[in-house]
């Protein structure tokens, strides 16, 4: 049975320093929620508070129908997976898996059954008798996941579980975690600073900065309609192109005036008074070549990053360096002149002063 989690007006601090301030978050039953943010922004602190490993300074934590604010970790129906794996070094894999069940006084045959099931799901059968030090990083992290799995927890908490793994294993295990969520349908809360993990795993992403949630939305929404400049810059690789300019309302649309020229924004109605803004364009919203029917500018190619299936080119247009996503077989050369089409109709606009998105 999936269970919802609710954080209500939560403050968390270490001593006098407040790390999280007045945070509200509703996580639906069975949801895969990713907490994403730069390191030091309070993600682990928040996760530890949900687990009951850190006290709140203020506010409540609800899991399902119960107020668990003062409950011990073991009474919250949670399992936790740490970045450092945190396997018990003095026990073999089997003992690591069964430790929680032994502590809880689960009967022997039931323990055997549950360990066997978890070990089958995570393909740990060949390693049951090994010590953690005799396992690879990926195997260790699977054991750590298994430790939550055997206890039949309602909620899985992951604290950067893949950060210590190399790129290939990270991808593999990411897929496994996604599969696991699909099979178990448990509520999962996943902390990471890796946007690829966030985008691929999440039902919803909560982007945090300095203990404050900047935007809580689906990956697609966050990518296409970032709520502010911080989110816009944090999500996407290469980052969103930002162009400073002025936005003027006009009849039937608006006008964007920047150092690169004046462009009509048909169909976008903004208030009539001029406004200092930043226009945000994803690299795929900049099209190479004339005749695209978009707002066209002239630029010079300054760097070409070939990535295999695609190429990213960095083009200089006056004081701006713009990145554009092009095909893998892009024929251009550095220092070549080039025409770029800016898809301003689908661009994001942010207020220069507040950094907030304009609707």
């Amino acid at each position: 049975m999936p269970v919802p989690v609710s954080l209500r007006s939560v403050d968390i601090g270490y001593g006098a320093t407040a790390v999280v301030k007045n945070l509200n978050l509703e996580i639906a039953a069975g949801e895969f929620l990713v907490l994403l943010g730069p390191s030091g922004c309070g993600k682990s602190t928040l996760l530890n508070a949900i687990a009951g490993l850190t006290d709140l300074a203020k506010g409540e934590v609800w899991i399902g129908e119960r107020n668990v604010t003062w409950a011990d970790p073991k009474d919250r129906g949670i399992g936790m997976v740490f970045q450092s794996y945190a396997l018990y070094p003095n026990m073999n894999v089997e003992k690591n898996l069964s430790f929680g069940l032994t502590v809880a006084g689960v009967p022997k045959d039931e323990i055997v059954r549950r360990v066997a099931r978890a070990s089958a799901i995570l393909q740990l059968d060949p390693y049951l008798k090994r010590r953690p030090s005799e396992l690879s990083g990926g195997q260790r992290q699977r054991v750590a996941i298994g430790r939550a799995l055997v206890r039949d927890v309602d909620i899985f908490l992951f604290d950067e579980p893949l950060s210590n793994l190399d790129a290939k294993l990270r991808t593999e295990l990411r897929v496994e975690i996604k599969k696991l969520h699909h099979e178990l349908a448990s509520t999962m809360i996943y902390v990471t600073h890796d946007q690829v993990e966030a985008m691929t795993l999440a039902n919803r992403i909560a982007i945090m900065r300095d203990g404050v949630i900047q935007q809580l939305a689906t990956p697609r929404e966050i990518y296409q309609r970032p709520a502010n400049l911080f989110v816009a810059g944090f999500i996407g690789s290469p980052a969103m192109n930002l162009l400073k300019g002025t936005l003027l309302g006009s009849d039937g649309g608006s006008l964007f005036r920047s150092s690169l020229g004046e462009f009509d924004l048909p169909g976008k109605a903004f208030p009539a008074e001029p406004r200092e803004v930043v226009a945000g364009l994803r690299p795929e919203q900049i099209i190479v070549g004339a005749g695209s029917g978009l707002a066209e500018i002239e630029a010079t190619i300054s760097v070409i990053d070939a990535m295999g299936p695609e190429t990213v080119i960095w083009c200089r247009a006056r004081e701006n360096l713009l990145s554009a996503r092009v095909a893998g077989d892009f024929p251009g050369q550095v220092d070549e002149g080039i025409t770029l089409g800016l898809d301003l109709a689908n661009a994001s606009f942010f207020d220069q002063d507040t950094g907030q998105r304009l609707p």
Partner: protein
Amino acid sequence: MRDPFPQSANGPRPDKVTPARLGLYAFLVIAALFFLLPAYVMLVTSFKSMEEIRSAQIFSLPHLFDWSAWIKAWSSACAGVNCTGVSAGFWNSVKITIPATVLSVLLGAVTGYALSFWRPPGGKILFAAITIGGFIPLQIFLFPMVRATAMLGLYNSLAGIVLVHVVFGLPLTTLLFRNYYASIPVELFKAARVDGAGFWRIFVSLMLPLSLPMLIVAGLMQMTGIWNDFLLGLVFAGRDNLPMTVQLNNIVTTTTGQREYNVHMAATVLTALVPLVAYFVSGRWFVRGITAGSVKG
């Protein structure tokens, strides 16, 4: 200046004996002799007869290996009117050292664990107090401690001397274990909490097995310290429980008749034997425990 990039450079750099290196060796050799010579003299003297000793060639090997001084030292040397050798003291020391070592190490492990992971309110102040307590010379506590043990009815008893050793050992063992546990990732503790384990469960199933190297180091330090103790044994143990060191002293300082140097040397070596053997047996572990913080697996 030497050429830092000689044309002929190839393969390993040649060893060079510099004056600094020579000085270092000289110092080490002298230091080694400083400790080894007295030990050598004691050993050879203990195997000599009194006649040979009087010939005053202290560095020469004995003409004839003579065990009688050792036997006398163990079982019949006199301390005043009491002629039982150091054997009675040996067993007293065993009875004091084993419980005092085990208790002080285990208690230090528990307090270190509690301070390190559970962070009780006031824990930092408590730890500071314990550490400072460990640096104050224990003579200062002697009189209050006498009164305290007397009040508990433990003065001049085996339990009393064990208690005193445990109390005076706790600052050191707590410090050792707290710092050792500080090197264990706190996630391990958190994982065990999430798994439902409580204070004692985590200690017994997880922390204690992980602290084997420190258990051995702390055990060894406590054991040697307690075995070698003289003052506390003299003050708190009572006549029937005097440790080996006190009895050795009584034998050596007994002045009736001639001084039996061979017996005294044998008795001294016997007294020193226990810590010596302990170090030889566990030396490897000892080094491992001391460096455990830096190279944890």
